[in-house]
Symmetry: C2
Subunit: 238 residues, 2 copies
Amino acid sequence: MNNCDQCVVRNKSICAALDPDELVAINRLSRKVSIKAGQALIWEGDDSLIVANVVEGAFKLTSSLEDGREQIIGLLYPSDFVGRPFGDKNEYSVTALADSKVCVFSRSDFDQFVREHPDLEHKLLRRTLIELDRVRRSMLLLGRKTAAERVASFLLEMSERLADASCSVVGGNLKLFALPFGRQQVADILGLTIETVSRQMTQLKKNDIIALPDHRNVQILDADRLRNIADAGALSVH
Amino acid sequence: MNNCDQCVVRNKSICAALDPDELVAINRLSRKVSIKAGQALIWEGDDSLIVANVVEGAFKLTSSLEDGREQIIGLLYPSDFVGRPFGDKNEYSVTALADSKVCVFSRSDFDQFVREHPDLEHKLLRRTLIELDRVRRSMLLLGRKTAAERVASFLLEMSERLADASCSVVGGNLKLFALPFGRQQVADILGLTIETVSRQMTQLKKNDIIALPDHRNVQILDADRLRNIADAGALSVH
DNA sequence: CGGCCCGTTGAGAGGATTCAAGAGTCGTGG
DNA sequence: CCACGACTCTTGAATCCTCTCAACGGGCCG
């Protein structure tokens, strides 16, 4: 049991569809759970017994092969919805990237509650459609883009997703942001090896397209050229 | 305007959620449209003005780069739903692979109708969730699998999807099926070139894992070994 | 200071692509 | 029914890109 009134993602999660009465009802179905960095919330192949809202932290959604090759197929941040409603298997693992908190429901409870609350189901549908668009976009990246294009696309997407405070330091468009994870995970997102990611980043740095104050921070110096590379790979060095 | 009663996908499409009265109502919103093979129904980047149900034929869903590289991000068959409800842009193209028929709605009409019919919205949600699972599975394929693994995975998936009549000819597990498209499109699905697909198919044939009566038909001779290759790539010859 | 983790860099190998040519298939028309 | 052309698929050789393996560098913490 929980207190939705004070929930930090109250207005951004799918729960925003609910009025106070309904909130009390769903309150009774949920419990807040803390997950340490590196710990899994859901395992690939397991029965789908729970769903959840991310309250705090970050998660990766992964699918892997027996020999250890891993592909990150999604990232989850506060207010995102986790799990597979209306299905009996989880086709992927969900693992905390940082110490996190989630608001957990039993899947059967949740499924039933959703069916009784069309507005909630509508929110869920919208989110699912957005996620589907996002995932499909990454199919083009994984299937057809070169390493240089993948890294450039990734940096642009991250800079947009993290487009909040810290930006526009000096004159104007100098976007600075901190990657919430290391090179290996970037590689797992882009379907590359860690070495290739590293080489591509260095390349971009050498061409003054980005700056790397440290390993986690990235500053986009020339967004136009970066966009050029992302969409065609044509790096026109003087 | 249309006649849903006689619709061949009446019971398999999302319309199955509707009772006779509702069917009359949605009837008024739809019109049946014929599309010739190769013709596009929706263009990548266009405003999302229509959605539809596939009634007959087949479609590919594609995303591409300016230089012509193309990735197939989905396939649609009769009873499948097409288009992007509750969003203003189509992020991909939809093109007929064969002469086809679709039942088209204006997106705004459809959006509104769906919101008024929770059962329909529920069907749509379920479909979207299933599609999301499918697309995520292919992210692992595109990001991490080798050419051999991709082709093997593809053949297994197609054999399951087309697992109907014609099967089990002789003793037992000899699955025979016809690919509904040519090598180039297989390549566009798997994120490979046509030559690589061809070479991998030949390789499988040489190892007596599949037979290729002609270019469109495939017969799986040794499903176990094919599954082995699909998941690990370890091809144990002789 | 030294070990550990993570990221970078280098050299070499391997796999997929590219470019080019040849083989097979299909439909058309003589 | 066969011949022809167009198109698709296959095969080959060379190139290119990414991966693999290995060593090095740098920051962080004990």
